[in-house]
């Protein structure tokens, strides 16, 4: 048994929040390793507080540990103080369950949810004692595997990783485990042969089997296989039925503080609202609802097992779940919950119906309400296809104030395509009117306006759009700040526009960015998600040293037929659908939600022979909600649901 616990223990007395490194969570297991077993180390490349709640890694660890031929443990990026201690003591990155060195695992699987964690990915590989470049590693090293939303353009990290997994991981993790198991039991001989076999698994991309070529003008020409066995194009994986995967079955309950410290139950995956800025909504199609009965069971079992008094029903737009009212009422009214359990819906829709549910579920403890209108004018919201009318927002806000809420948070993006200063300032206008509505109910209502700079993402209609410069974003923030000052009750918060530059680089960058990431990491640029650690100067310097232009990668509009770094990777969406949607955006034409309107063939269903799984073919009541249908707003519409059996709408 190899454990570094006895060497680690004295170091823990010297660092901040040592409870992050002990494991011991309720629900965690102590796997028994064996020479014939495939071992995975699941890693979130940020702190324990951010990484532990990640449901994706918990789901995959459980699935692996249920297999007779494999074991899985977890790890997170140690904070800077412990990293210094580890390096000084010559100790490696370790697993939390058995405090085993990361380098002793067969695979290190990273979840990549944010581009700014890329230098932490590199740091974790190095701290495990491995060469950071895939090309310099051999059969004695673990395979570096990455999954998560960022991997829809993995080219900036292609130099560092061995395998990239696109899409849902539930099925593919078993297939990878089986192939690696065969290879391990056969003596870990031919690594190239292993990669070829892995590349045959649908959803698995092996970057080392491909090469990007660039023209004399420095523009990407193509990314093509250099091995005849590797496929030209890698399709994402999609599980057809979420009901077959009731994971995590034993959600981990940490013993120390983390974000989202509550029971989480995923109620559906995918979203077809079609917001054009939203990568998650585009790459996770189609919509697959979990059966309402299973949701209720998972909530009841989870609360009993964990002792939590809060459950989040998670998805990209939870109020859209067909059985939402019924499920919520079931939890709130369950006598076993003593009236002490509150439910949260992390992505609230903007309408009064939703507020009605919120009032129902926050009887035990009332937190703030958050809405995301995303843009300040109707014109702008048509461009981004977030078809919320002003009356939807005001109806929601009035409903909230009248039911006792005093504080509200509104989320907006700036730097959207075709945005004018009038659109930008429309944000403050909306907020001002919300405060005015509040004054009818309370003395000092407040609205917090939270501003993010828009970063165009791959596999969305906005993938061709040239991002605003950080100077332009800062100018817009200043406009908003000056406008907000005039109105009492409107409070402004914003994301650092400088960080958006690096997010933009990583979001749509190509393989040449690998050298940039490595240099920033070498110069100490880890934890770039953390404002106290973020260093734009390191990135700009590394870009210059690599002979690359920020303008070319971030600020430039792409051309219709220009090769893109992710052209060989597919989320199922037809390129001509995305291009048409981009043209529609510029023409300010909205596109309805295809759950409730005819299919417009984006490619996500037809390409994979799967369908939306929704229990109701009727759109939810309240507000226009981008359906293009004339629904009454104001929360007075009763919810009528057809019998709860899955209906395929494609």
């Amino acid at each position: 048994m190899t454990s570094i616990w006895t060497q680690l223990e004295p170091l823990l007395a010297k660092v901040q929040k040592p409870a992050r490194y002990i494991g011991c969570e309720d629900g965690s297991i102590t796997p028994v390793h064996g020479p014939d077993l495939v071992s995975w180390l699941m890693i979130y490349p940020d702190t324990y507080e951010i990484g532990l709640p990640n449901q994706g890694l918990q789901i995959l660890a459980e699935i692996v540990n249920e297999r007779p031929d494999a074991v899985a443990e977890r790890s997170y990026a140690p904070w800077i103080d412990l990293e210094v201690e580890l390096r000084a003591a010559g100790l490696p990155l370790f697993s939390l369950e058995t405090h085993r060195p990361a380098g002793e695992f067969d695979l290190m699987g990273f979840n990549l949810s944010a581009e700014l964690t890329y230098t932490n990915l590199v740091n974790c590989i190095d701290l495990a004692g491995l060469p950071i470049l895939a090309a310099e590693r051999d059969a004695s090293h673990p395979l570096i595997v990455v999954g998560g939303h960022c991997t829809y353009n993995p080219e900036p990290i292609a130099d560092f990783v061995d395998l990239v997994v696109l899409g849902d991981g539930e099925e593919v993790i078993g297939e990878i485990t089986a192939v690696v198991g065969d290879w391990k039991r056969a003596g870990c001989t031919d690594r190239h042969e292993l990669f070829v076999r892995l590349s045959a698994i649908e959803g698995v991309y092996v970057p080392s089997l491909y090469e990007s070529t660039f023209g004399p003008d420095g523009k990407l020409v193509a990314t093509l296989p250099i091995d005849p066995a590797a496929p030209d194009r890698i399709e994402k994986r999609t599980i057809a039925d979420l009901g077959e995967w009731p994971y995590p079955k034993a959600q981990l309950v940490p013993l120390t503080e983390v974000v989202h410290d509550r029971l989480n139950v995923e109620i559906f995956r995918g979203c077809t609202r079609g917001c054009r800025f939203c990568q998650a909504g585009m790459i996770t199609r189609p919509v697959r609802e979990r059966p309402a009965e299973q949701v209720k069971q998972m909530v009841a079992d989870g609360l009993r097992r964990t002792g939590y008094d809060e459950v989040a029903l998670t998805s990209l737009s939870s109020a859209d779940f067909s059985g939402i009212q019924d499920v919520v009422a079931g939890i709130v009214d369950d006598p076993l919950n003593n009236g002490q359990v509150s439910v949260s819906l992390p992505s609230l829709r903007v309408d009064a119906f939703t507020v009605g549910i919120a009032a129902e579920i926050q009887r035990a403890r009332r937190t703030g309400l958050t809405f995301a209108p995303e843009a300040g004018t109707w014109r702008m919201r048509q461009v981004i296809n977030k078809l919320i009318r002003e009356e939807d927002l005001y109806g929601a806000v009035e409903s909230a104030y009248s039911q006792g809420w005093r504080r509200m948070k509104l989320y907006f993006l700036i730097g959207l395509p075709t945005e004018t200063d009038e659109d930008t300032l429309g944000i403050i206008e909306l907020a001002r009117k919300c405060v005015e509505i509040g004054r009818e109910y309370h003395k000092n209502p407040s609205v917090t306006v939270s501003i993010g700079g828009f970063v165009p993402k791959p596999h969305t209609p906005f993938q061709w759009f040239g991002q605003n410069t950080n100077q332009e974003l800062q100018r817009k923030v200043n406009l908003l700040r000056d406008a907000a000052k005039k109105f009492r009750g409107v409070e402004l918060k914003w994301h650092d526009p400088k960080a958006s530059v690096v997010e933009g680089l990583m979001s749509r960058g190509d393989r040449r960015l690998g050298a940039v990431i490595a240099e920033v990491w070498r110069n100490g640029g880890t934890f770039q998600e953390w404002s106290e650690c973020f260093r734009l100067d390191l990135w700009l310097e590394a870009m210059a040293n690599a002979g690359l232009e920020v303008d070319d990668h971030v600020y430039r509009h792409r051309l219709e037929h220009e090769p893109l770094p992710w052209d060989h990777l597919s989320a199922g969406l037809h390129r001509d659908f995305l291009w048409q949607d981009w043209r529609d955006a510029l023409a300010e034409v909205g596109l309805p939600d295809c759950r409730w309107t005819p299919c417009y063939d984006c490619g996500a269903c037809t390409g994979y022979s799967i369908e939306h799984v929704v229990a109701s073919a009727t759109p939810p009541a309240g507000g226009s909600q981008g359906t293009g249908q004339d629904l009454a707003s104001g929360g007075s519409v009763p919810v009528s649901l057809s019998p709860r059996k899955p209906v395929g709408v494609s």
Binding site: L12, A13, P18, L255, T256, G307, A364
Partner: protein, 247 residues
């Protein structure tokens, strides 16, 4: 049969904090208890108001990384519960290293644990220090009239005489029943008064010249003096099955 009126009660539990969980903060331990009480379905009372909180009360704080075999929590219940088997039931639900050793009902008007405790017994295990060396240093320390150290209380620096609050100081031999996780090394036991004010273990160790290394710190007992006689915050516990660790 008429339903009996609920009888609000307060119970006090003695528990351990040993091994890896010694790295939990006071606040972490409070959340762990909150969840375990809900899982055990104890009818805990909630505070009134906009954001009701479960009514639990803890004793003297224990620093992160220090262990204890004598921690206390008071829990207010809406109604009485059977205490038979409760200690074992809770230990089963609590993380490894936190075990309930004893439980008893106490008066709802009982003084707060923090105000009641007069003395704390600490054990210091110092890897790399020999018993002979430690014995010499302790004798020298005890011979001093007063040992003033600079401490910080409520953000302000002040001076305290550590010698005056150390009631007993003994170098002891390590015992056989120690868990494997405790490192080998010379061992010191100190009985320290909480009045006029508590001196923290780290401050006590720093009062030696040169300072003693911290090693492993474990609280062995919290003591209430009644007419000079030492007693426990839980004098007559409800009978329980085998105790996981003896205090």
């Amino acid at each position: 049969m008429t339903p009996t009126e609920p009888r609000p009660t307060r119970i006090r539990l003695r528990y351990t904090k040993l091994g890896k969980v010694r790295f939990l903060s006071h606040r972490d331990v409070a959340s762990v208890w909150e969840r375990v009480i809900r899982r055990a379905r104890l009818p805990i009372a909630y505070s009134e108001g906009f954001s009701p909180r479960p009514r639990m009360h803890f004793g003297l704080a224990l620093s992160v990384a220090h262990e204890s075999v004598d921690e206390y929590i008071d829990i207010d219940l809406r109604d009485e519960v059977s205490l038979d088997g409760l200690a074992d039931q809770l230990s089963e639900l609590l993380p490894h290293g936190i075990d309930v050793l004893a439980v008893a009902e106490i008066a709802r008007s009982a003084e707060s644990l923090q105000g009641e405790v007069d003395q704390v017994t600490w054990q210091f295990t110092m890897p790399g220090v020999s018993t002979v060396e430690l014995t010499d240093r302790v004798a020298e320390w005890l011979a001093r009239e007063s040992v003033d150290v600079s401490i910080i209380r409520k953000g302000k620096p002040t001076t305290a005489d550590v010698r005056a609050v150390v009631d007993e100081l003994l170098v002891v031999e390590p015992t056989d029943d120690d868990d494997d996780a405790t490192p080998a090394g010379a061992r010191l036991v100190a009985v320290m008064s909480t009045r006029p004010r508590s001196i923290r273990p780290a401050e006590f160790l720093a009062s030696f010249d040169p300072p003693l290394v911290e090693g492993r710190v474990r609280r062995l007992a919290q003591i209430i003096l009644t007419d000079g006689v030492a007693g426990s915050p839980l004098p007559t516990p409800h009978p329980t099955s085998a105790l996981p660790v003896s205090g």
